[in-house]
């Protein structure tokens, strides 16, 4: 197998607060292959954004990486000094956030921001950098880029601004892009355009993407593989088709059934009782145990690790063949879904 572009191993992030140390990520592990879109889903507070911030070294104090590693094309980047990390951000790892205005400076013309970024990361002269900026705007679908390049961010609509941010993320031809809720603030019809754009760009350029969103629909369409996060842990990770159509982890089963579809005909949505625990109150053993209808003794004492189950990984004791509870047939998905 070729080397993954990003490899996250047992990454743990803690926030030290007055009420004690809160563990926002607890041994999160996954790889992203070259040209792959990894979707990261989960409900709010699951740790999706913290995962992204940890990879790019932007965890604000009092937060800190308390364990684990992040490898970018095989090199460790989680322990780099801030200066070295700053060089990697933007150049080798691009970023796209939910609100395009966090990435764009309202006081500068769009072109100035693109040209500056291009010049920081390449040795192009001003004229060539401008040409490249126009080409990028064209590539992300801004009409009349040679004219729009001199506009200010507020002169662009929300969808257009997000296109500019994508152009900005692409400036230095990064190997890896972290897109955190890139379409959440956009309208449905614009959302579809941005998704199509991100997908096309990675296909054409071989860029890898970590696409963070709480919208399963977006993941279903864009991602190659998907990681389902719950309470700072990865519950299940695998090919998007498998995880969406036949989830294995009881939380993933509940999550998929809870989402209304424009095709499905469920009279009732699947209901997971309760809600995600607060970080200060994560249950012992499996973090999902208070809400899980399949929980058994072992779930309350021992944390399930990710184990391989036919091409994907699942963190649930039901799938640990050696120690599954009596009478449970862990491969019977219908039973788990019930």
């Amino acid at each position: 197998m070729t080397q993954p572009v990003i490899s996250v191993n047992e990454l743990t992030v803690e926030f030290v607060t007055r009420r004690g140390t809160l563990r926002a990520l607890d041994k999160v592990s996954f790889d992203v292959a070259r040209g792959e879109v990894l979707g990261v889903v989960g409900e709010s507070g699951a740790g999706k954004s913290v995962t992204g911030s940890a990879i790019i070294g932007l965890i604000d104090p009092p937060g800190r990486i308390a364990g684990g590693q992040v490898l970018l094309s095989g090199e460790r980047v989680d322990n780099l000094p801030p200066d070295a990390m700053r060089k990697i951000r933007g150049k080798r790892i691009g970023m796209i956030f939910q609100d395009p205005l966090t990435s764009l400076n309202p006081l500068y013309r769009v072109g100035e921001q693109l040209i500056e970024t291009i010049q920081t990361h390449t040795d192009l002269n001003a004229a060539d950098a401008r040409k490249r900026a126009i080409a990028l705007l064209d590539e992300v679908g801004i009409p009349a880029p040679e004219r729009r390049i001199d506009g200010y961010p507020h002169e662009f609509s929300g969808g257009m601004r997000q296109r500019v941010v994508i152009a900005l993320a692409l400036c230095a031809e990064p190997e890896f892009i972290i897109a955190d809720e890139p379409t959440t603030a956009l309208d449905v019809s614009v959302q579809a355009q941005i998704i199509a754009l991100i997908k096309r760009l990675c296909q054409e350029r071989g860029t890898s993407v970590m696409l963070v969103t709480h919208d399963m629909g977006v993941i279903a369409e864009t991602a190659d593989r998907v990681a389902v996060m719950y309470a700072g842990r990865v519950a299940e990770i695998g090919p998007v088709r498998d995880v969406v159509k036949q989830p294995l982890h009881p939380y993933a089963v509940g999550l998929m059934g809870a989402i209304p579809s424009i095709e499905g005909d469920a009279e009732r949505l699947v209901q997971i009782p309760g809600s995600m625990p607060r970080l200060s109150n994560i249950p012992k053993g499996c973090a999902f145990n208070p809400r899980c209808s399949k929980a058994f003794d072992r779930c309350f004492v021992e944390r399930p690790e990710l184990i391989d189950v036919g091409g994907r990984q699942v963190a649930c004791h039901l799938y640990d063949q050696s120690k599954a509870p009596n009478g449970q047939n862990p491969t019977d998905k219908a039973e788990i879904a019930a």
């Binding site: 579809a192 399963m216 424009i262 009732r268």
Partner: protein, 334 residues
């Protein structure tokens, strides 16, 4: 479903309009010699809601859904048109007294349950407020009993009445808002994006609860959402809004199996959905134009694949639930 869907419309909305003055301040206007600017947030919307059904309005941001909702419940005066509920006019000044009697029966639930609950009041007092305001039950003990009953009904514990709103999660707060809406024995509930701020597993709990309560009490809902999948799950009939106009009204599932208006088709093509895994889709063209200077004629014409001359000059009338010249022409030809 065991719903009492009688034929006479319970809610009648006719040619409803709302214009907002969005001009710059007077001084700026004089200096820049800029004209006054008006925004037609709602521009001639008509629909019926039958008793016991869920009528949904969908549309992208700024299409006028919330403005319609606020006019229907009487929170915002219309610039034109009429609303009547159970035969009582919500818009005729002469009907003020009758309207007062109707008020108890109409409630509204908002997207942000936190903003709609008084943070300094205990939940019990919040839910009891409509009971006291409309003098529905006498005696503190009796009211407290009723509040406990309502809390249980929405899946909370009677003791939760002693807590303050900030002690609850988003989903629990929305349950409180629903309990308050039910406290006055409301029969018509207008819900503006009731689950848009919630996580999907909590959204499922609230949507299931709303359906259970509808069956139990025969409630009528005007349900507003930008999420087509949620609307499909909830609605008996659906109206699609674009730039202040209702472009299509359709029976619930039919909107998805046989969309008729070009905008509806585009919207359905665009929506990211679980069912779409691995499927290619049609491209979507353009963005919603600035509502202050909307396109002439059919406001969808710059984005429409079926556009022809007439569309640029004439606003298409709604015929059989669809406002589109191309659809009308097809009908004439057939």
């Amino acid at each position: 479903m065991t719903q009492d869907v009688s034929s006479a419309p319970y809610v009648q909305v006719r040619d409803l309009k709302r214009v907002f003055d969005v001009s710059k301040p007077w001084l700026n206007r004089v200096i820049e010699s800029a004209p006054k600017q008006y925004l037609k947030a709602v521009d001639g919307v008509s629909f019926d809601i039958r008793k016991g059904e869920t009528f949904a309005l969908v549309g992208e941001s700024g299409s006028g859904k919330s403005t319609v909702a606020r006019m229907v419940v009487g929170l915002l005066p219309p610039s034109g048109g009429t609303v009547s509920i159970d035969g009582v006019s919500m818009t005729d000044p002469a009907a003020a007294q009758e309207r007062q009697r109707l008020r108890r029966r109409i409630q509204m639930i908002f997207q942000d349950p936190y903003a709609s609950l008084n943070p300094r009041w205990r939940v019990g007092r919040i839910i009891a407020e409509p009971i006291r305001a409309f003098d529905l039950i006498q005696g503190d003990r009796e009211i407290e009993g009723r509040v406990g009953e309502l809390l249980s009904l929405v899946g909370l514990h009677p003791d939760d009445g002693k807590k303050f709103p900030h002690e609850f999660s988003g989903g629990q707060r929305q349950r409180i808002a629903i309990a308050r809406a039910l406290a006055s024995n409301a029969e018509f509930i207008v819900c503006d994006e009731p689950t848009s701020a919630l996580d999907v597993s909590v959204q499922a709990q609230i949507l299931n609860l709303m359906r259970d309560l509808q069956q139990k009490f025969g409630l009528t809902y005007l349900f507003i959402s930008h999420n087509l999948a949620v609307v499909r799950h909830m609605a008996t009939r659906i109206g699609v809004m674009y730039l202040g106009r209702l472009v299509e009204v359709s029976e619930g599932k039919q909107l998805f199996t046989a969309p008729r208006h070009p905008y509806t088709k585009m919207l359905l093509d665009a929506v990211p959905d679980l069912a779409m895994v691995g499927k290619p889709r049609e491209g979507v063209k353009g963005e919603i134009p600035n509502p202050i200077s909307p396109p002439s004629g059919c406001t969808f014409h710059p984005r429409c694949p079926l556009v022809f001359d007439r569309c640029r000059v004439e606003n298409p009338p709604a015929i059989d639930g669809v406002a589109c010249h191309a659809v009308n022409r097809g009908r004439e030809a057939a």
